[in-house]
Amino acid sequence: SQTIHQWPATLVQPVGSPLSLECTVEGTSNPNLYWYRQAAGRGLQLLFYSVGIGQISSEVPQNLSASRPQDRQFILSSKKLLLSDSGFYLCAWSTSQTSGTYNEQFFGPGTRLTVL
């Protein structure tokens, strides 16, 4: 069966410090990978998605970046955190789209980031 891991589970960082969140998927090959942010009391905002190694699409201009160095590894980074980067970060994966349907996404447990 497939599993998705995220770490760390919680993180408290000062403003201006760097960030690296990691997500890995097991039990599948060539998944689509996604990073979402969920601010307090808000819905989900898609930040980045990737359909293959080295292929990253950004949805929202910001001081965050993403990389996919391996097929089942997705990393979210920042060189200098802002207060507004605080939130709950979720990684998700899905299989590639098939004709006529949209495949569901499976979410990791999330990382709670607090920027002080």
Binding site: G43, Y49, E59, F88, Q97, Y102, G110
Partner: protein
Amino acid sequence: AQSVTQLDSHVSVSEGTPVLLRCNYSSSYSPSLFWYVQHPNKGLQLLLKYTSAATLVKGINGFEAEFKKSETSFHLTKPSAHMSDAAEYFCVGGVSGGGADGLTFGKGTHLIIQP
């Protein structure tokens, strides 16, 4: 373009009574629709999905949803609420051909279960 609207930001029911969480969608194409549940500080868990095979979809934990094209609705129901159902629920829509970023999330409904 498509949109997903969850009609209630909060729903409160008593334990043992039915649950109804409402979701309307707007799409020019036949959508794929999903309901997810999120407990505090947890990831989203898929409850059920509709992909045009059957209009009544049964999911986990006793939840089900009915796709009504004439009403453009995909409401989530459960006959009898349990305390463990207290959580945030998201209705999500995807349009075929919309690309990997083609999912649209509703803003969520917070379900409160009164003892």
